[in-house]
């Protein structure tokens, strides 16, 4: 049997890689999902980046019950705040657009999308969002305002 310890660096790394490929390979489904993600690309939408996540504000090592999580997404002209509550394997989103205006909100998740209307004050609620990657697209009745797409986040 090959004495692993004596292998030159490149071969030893290859053995380590082969070891992890056998013991803990990336599932084919993960690659497939990554390939398919390009289909989610929005064009002509303004990107609202995640600028604040209450999950990262909690002190290190403290892990209490899974309470609500507050996410703030911001684009140059508009922002949206979303409170996320865990309901078993799903999530309840309570959102507030930065400006009080109605909008059609598309909630995108791994397997598909669902829609909800934000009221005149920019508020919306949606239940039953599956846990996993989530992103929102906000489309406004006033077509002069570009649609808003939020960073994907794992909920």
């Amino acid at each position: 049997m090959t004495d692993l310890a004596q292998l030159p660096e490149a071969e030893l790394l290859a053995a380590v890689n082969a070891f992890f490929e056998q013991v803990d390979p990336m599932p084919a489904a993960v690659r497939t999902a990554a390939l398919g993600s390009i289909a989610w690309r929005t064009v002509d939408a303004e990107l609202a980046e995640l600028i604040e996540d209450s999950a990262l504000l909690s002190s290190a090592g403290v892990r209490g019950p899974h309470g609500p999580r507050l996410l703030t997404f911001s684009a140059p002209d508009v922002s949206v705040v979303v409170e996320v509550a865990e309901v078993g394997p799903t999530r309840r989103l309570v959102g507030q657009l930065g400006d009080p205006r109605s909008a059609a909100i598309e909630i995108r998740f791994r397997e598909g999308t669902t829609w909800v209307e934000a009221d005149d004050l920019g508020r919306f609620v949606v239940d039953g969002v599956p846990a996993g990657p989530v992103s929102l697209v906000c489309r406004f009745p006033d077509t002069d305002i570009a649609p808003l797409v939020t960073d994907w986040v794992t909920l």
């Binding site: 049997m1 004495d3 692993l4 310890a5 004596q6 660096e9 490149a10 030893l12 790394l13 290859a14 053995a15 380590v16 890689n17 070891f19 992890f20 056998q22 013991v23 803990d24 990336m26 599932p27 489904a29 993960v30 690659r31 999902a33 990554a34 390939l35 993600s37 390009i38 989610w40 690309r41 929005t42 990107l47 996540d53 999950a55 990262l56 909690s58 290190a60 090592g61 403290v62 892990r63 899974h66 999580r69 394997p89 791994r110 846990a131 996993g132 990657p133 992103s135 797409v149 960073d151 994907w152 986040v153 794992t154």
Partner: protein, 183 residues
């Protein structure tokens, strides 16, 4: 000569699906390895990887240094892994995890073959940092020092010496193991 990462990003921006496929194939295992090295379950790691690729898709036009998309991806997956550790994913974590102390072995794995036992035993006795470094480095042998440094959250200047030391530690541990009985 292999296509540069920048060329792949620029072609993907224009809608070239083959370039997107090449981009995924170039970095997917590295991304998986980084996320997994944080001790996330398979399901949570899959979610973190997927979120990272989706983020890249929406940021494709915005990336200021397309040639450093590898670093961008590693940064993104590291942050998303930390978010997952802090707030949990589909599975409730059973223990607090300090940033420098990641579970080994990766949840749900075990040696499948006899010849794994040697490496398995060696990895069990490596430091946490060396485990993570060697795994990530092995997953992408041409990963830049920058990408490995980001994956580990350490200064890029420390990677050269750390790599050398971890490799030496691995050799020492491998030398220590008796050859497993084949019986």
């Amino acid at each position: 000569m292999a296509t540069t990462a920048a060329a792949l990003v620029e072609a993907a921006r224009k809608g070239d699906e083959q370039s997107w496929t090449e981009l995924v194939d170039r970095f997917a295992r590295l991304i998986w390895s980084v996320a997994r090295s944080y001790g996330l379950s398979e399901a949570d790691t899959a979610d973190v990887c997927q979120t990272t690729w989706l983020r890249l898709v929406e940021h494709l036009d915005q990336i200021r240094q397309p040639d450093s998309v590898g670093s961008w991806l590693v940064t993104a997956v590291r942050r998303e892994s930390l978010r997952m550790l802090r707030h949990g994913g589909r599975e409730v974590p059973t223990e607090d995890i300090e940033p420098d102390d990641h579970p080994w072995p990766p949840p749900g794995t075990g040696p499948a073959e006899e010849y794994h036992l040697t490496l398995w035993a060696a990895f069990a006795d490596l430091s946490d940092r060396c485990r993570r470094l060697l795994r990530v480095w092995a997953a992408a042998a041409d990963a830049s020092y920058q990408e490995i440094a980001i994956a580990l959250g350490v200064p890029v200047g420390s990677i050269g010496p750390t790599r050398a030391r971890c490799l030496a530690d691995l050799r020492r541990l491998l030398s220590r193991q008796p050859t497993p009985d084949t019986a």
